[in-house]
């Protein structure tokens, strides 16, 4: 049975179901990260004066700045991958999507080094409230990056077969994956100053 409105526009919403579905999912993601941001604010304002460390005292700002640049770059390559499909240029799509996946892996490797450095100094989530919320939020964000790598790798390798049979449907899939990826980038844009700089 064919799935309806994967390409065609629904007359009631003016959108295809792919677009509406991914935005509803992202709305739920806003609430997930929103709850954690709210917890962070509650823990920070509720801490005794002078007990909450400045992120830069414990965390590596240069590594986080590098990772911010990496993630923003991956957002650009992602949107360029989608634009390449719209321009019917599959080879450029492969190039940009490969770059997106590679940049995501660089982000994870750098994050892995950061975590390893903290653990080598016996800085575990149990050490303080700050480290607890830091590992929780960045860990959840990291899992979202892993999810994005899996989805984007699928669209880069086996999933690209659909381009030859249903190009518009494939383009919509990549657009949905892109919306998710930009959201993950957007979350990091707020995490970076909140956790590392303030």
């Amino acid at each position: 049975m064919e799935i309806p409105y994967t390409v065609d526009i629904r007359p009631d919403t003016g959108l295809n179901n792919v677009k509406l579905g991914i935005w509803l999912f992202l709305a739920s993601e806003v609430m997930l990260f929103g709850g954690l941001f709210s917890s962070y604010v509650l823990l920070r304002v509720g801490a005794e004066a002078g007990t909450w460390p400045q992120g830069a005292e414990i965390l590596s700002v240069p590594l986080a700045t590098f990772n911010t640049i990496v993630l923003i770059s991956s957002s650009v390559t992602m949107v360029m991958a989608w634009a390449s499909l719209k321009l019917r240029d599959l080879s450029k799509y492969r190039l940009y999507m490969s770059a997106t996946v590679a940049l995501a892996l660089v982000f994870l490797i750098v994050k892995g080094f950061e975590y390893a450095d903290k653990f080598s100094h016996h800085l575990y989530p149990s050490e303080s409230t700050f480290l607890g919320i830091y590992f929780l939020i960045t860990g959840l964000h990291g899992l979202h990056i892993v999810g994005g790598v899996i989805v984007n790798s699928y669209f880069l390798l086996p999933g690209v077969k659909m381009w030859h049979t249903a190009p518009e449907r494939f383009t919509n899939r990549v657009e949905a994956a892109g919306l998710y990826w930009h959201f993950v980038d957007l979350v990091w844009i707020f995490l970076f100053p909140v956790l590392y700089l303030l």
């Binding site: 304002v45 650009v76 992602m78 949107v79 707020f190 970076f192 303030l198």
Partner: protein, 102 residues
Amino acid sequence: MSIDSAEDIKKHVKVYLMVFAALMVLTIITVGVASLPLTIPFAIALALVIATVKGSLVASYFMHLVSEKSPIYWTLIVTAAFFAVLMFVPLLAMLDGIRLER
């Protein structure tokens, strides 16, 4: 987003590159501002303003929110309302006089 012609896409690609450059500059500004001797409330406000500008650029252009259909906007308005409620929870807790251990 309703972009169809190749010419439209090429125009949008230029916008994507301009947004990318703006995001890079704003990232450098974020780090630079953090090293200035500002009071903590002002530093927090400034960092969040810059992050909001960066986030708006990503949402508006990379996520195409500048030209979306109304069901998407309504979904996000409802989400923003509930998000605002979540952000008020710490304020309510503060008014309740809660103090947490380190």
